[in-house]
């Protein structure tokens, strides 16, 4: 008998209770109300040691982001195609005069790897935000590769405020079948970190030392 059948056979032979699953309520949700979603998202993301820019979608995202990049001393940035599309041509124009060198993620494996490991910053897109956690949910794929939010010391993740969900339950519903799951979804709640030496925490163990979330919203612009 092969290992699979042996294991399953043994499990199936075991006596089993027909448990009546208790239909317990949702003890995790504390709804902030639709209006409070973005505020709570930003507040919690900051608590998770991320930096946040909140900008009107039609506003001057470019200069707010460039200002942030410059204040971090960033000289080279690599964008995923998804981020480039979301930030738009105005941003590209603003960047050309700023002295920050921006390139698109190469569309070959070795080139992408080299670019991601050498860039000071990588700009990616989150498909959803999770307000209750202050977390960004990235769907990876050709247009939004994994490495650009991982290898550069600064990870910039752009998100539309309208796609901020209440909690993990809402994210589960957004992800659940019948939609096919993407090859990878990553939930990012802060920069890479460790406290493995004597319990002393620090950022940038393997991945980004800093996380900057750019939240695009329709409404008055302000910086957070």
């Amino acid at each position: 008998m092969n290992a699979r059948d042996a294991i399953l056979g043994r499990l199936k032979k075991a006596p089993r209770e027909s448990r009546q699953p208790e239909r317990l309520g949702d003890f995790q949700a504390r709804a902030p109300g639709k209006d409070g979603l973005t505020e709570r998202f930003i507040e919690r993301l900051k608590q998770n040691s991320a930096m946040v820019i909140l900008e009107k979608e039609s506003g001057d995202v470019g200069s707010a982001l460039l200002k942030a990049l410059q204040s971090e001393g960033i000289e080279r940035v690599v964008f995923t195609r998804a981020a480039d599309a979301l930030l738009g041509p105005a941003f590209q124009e603003a960047m050309q005069t700023s002295g920050v060198v921006g390139t698109l993620a190469p569309e070959d494996e070795e080139g992408l790897k080299r670019a991601a490991f050498q860039a000071y910053a990588g700009v990616s897109v989150a498909k959803w935000g999770v307000s209750e956690l202050g977390a960004l949910a990235l769907v990876h794929g050709k247009e939004n590769p994994r490495l650009l939010s991982l290898a550069p010391p600064l990870s910039v993740i752009v998100l539309k405020a309208g796609s901020i969900l209440e909690d993990l339950r809402a994210l589960a519903i957004a992800l659940a079948p019948p939609l096919a799951m993407p090859s990878q979804v990553t939930l990012v709640s802060g920069p890479s970190q460790s406290a493995d030496i004597q319990g002393v925490p620090f950022f940038g163990m393997h991945g980004p030392k800093k996380l900057l979330a750019v939240v695009l919203q329709d409404g008055p612009s302000k910086e957070g």
Binding site: N2, A3, R4, I7, L8, L11, K12, A14, P15, S18, R19, P21, L24, G25, D26, F27, Q28, R30, R44, N48, P106, K113, F117, G134, H140, G141, K142, P145, R146, L150, A151, R169, L171, A172, L175, A176, M181, P182, S183, Q184, T186, L187, V188, S189, P191, S192, Q193, S194, A195, D196, I197, Q198, G199, V200, F202, G204, M205, H206, G207, P208
Partner: protein
Amino acid sequence: MRSIPFRRVAKDALEDQDAQRLLKILPFAFRALREAALSELPDPKGALKKAAEIRADALEVLPELLETFEKNAKANGTNIHWARDAKEARLIVLGLLGAQNSKTVLKSKSMLTEEIGLREFLGEEGFETLETDLGEFICQVLGLPPFHIVGPAINVPVERVSALFLDMGFIQGPVTDPVALGVAAREFFRRKFSEAKVGITGVNFAVAETGSILGVENEGNIRFLKSVPKVQVSLMGIEKLVPTIEDAFYVLRLLPPSCTGQRMSAYVTIDSGPRRFGEFDGPEELHVVIVDNGRSKIYEDPKTRPALACIRCGACLNVCPVYAQVGGYPYGFAYSGPMGLVWTPMLVGLKAANELLQACSLCGACKEVCPAGIDHPMLILELRKKLARKRLLSLEGIAYGVAGFGLSGGMRENLGLKILRPFYNALGRRFGLPLLAPRRFREAFGAAQNKEKMP
């Protein structure tokens, strides 16, 4: 396996000043962080109860969930392998590595791989297997077992880490700043990640409905191992299944608070197959090795089955008065604290874990904090009972043997039992076990016949 010398190693731990200093702070700090993180939920107790229900319900349909997971994971393009025991699991991984053109393997922290001795085995087979979790890496190079599930090397003095890193060329002179040491290690690992050909990871949860696996971490090493290498091998115990993404997320929400006291870990990855056509990173091959290694035996007995609900959060370690005195080393296996007391005896054998099983006062603090709803004291008592029964069975054998020495046939058995019955029953009463009847059937039958014969 040889007996775990809990008492001897615990005695050493009690005399280890570095460990003692840390143990005065560590469990209490984790407890405070846990409480603060859980207090963000409107009803933490209700949430823990619901998570425990999800795990218990999943276990009741475990074989069906495994089949559904396999079907959906395969549909995603994942290769599924099954291993009955540690040896089969090691050989499967070896076979997968053998097909690759690299003798270096990078892996992330995984208790299952520790349980099956994967790194040591691959070393013997000529593969350099590098732990990429910082604490686990320090343990690997220093040859130490994990001290704590969350911080495996958290007890190692900074001077010792500095000497190690100096030796390895990470730093040029002694450094006593833990942050600077971490940064030095980062540079070493980045080179390794950029060249990685094979990544070995564990699995926190597996989702039947989507065929997905979840990995939870803070450092980013798991993400690198799922992004750069062409081949990803993820090992999971058969118990990791939950039915839906929603179930996985519900339990996930309680994992970091119970583990590190965070609201959520920095990264959670949900993998559903290898990279898709046209993607430029992520593994071209994703292999999931589903490992039994004694778990189906635990499953067979409804009394021990709930142990399989464990999500390896470590909360039980931080409230355990025994762990708080001795730390992780005396537990002698991959699992420590109350979780180790429950799991290790069932994996390595009750006799080998005899001393370990006594390392519990049955205070029940572990049960209170467990997000998987495990009743550790009940399980520990059950295992003690099984052990006592085993011991008595062998005592009975010895009784027959010793008492029968030099005698023969029925005479030997009768005389042997008459002599040893009182001792055997005294022990039986002490452990609450079935006692030997005052007379064997043959003796009683003989007596009855004699009675009949009497006028």
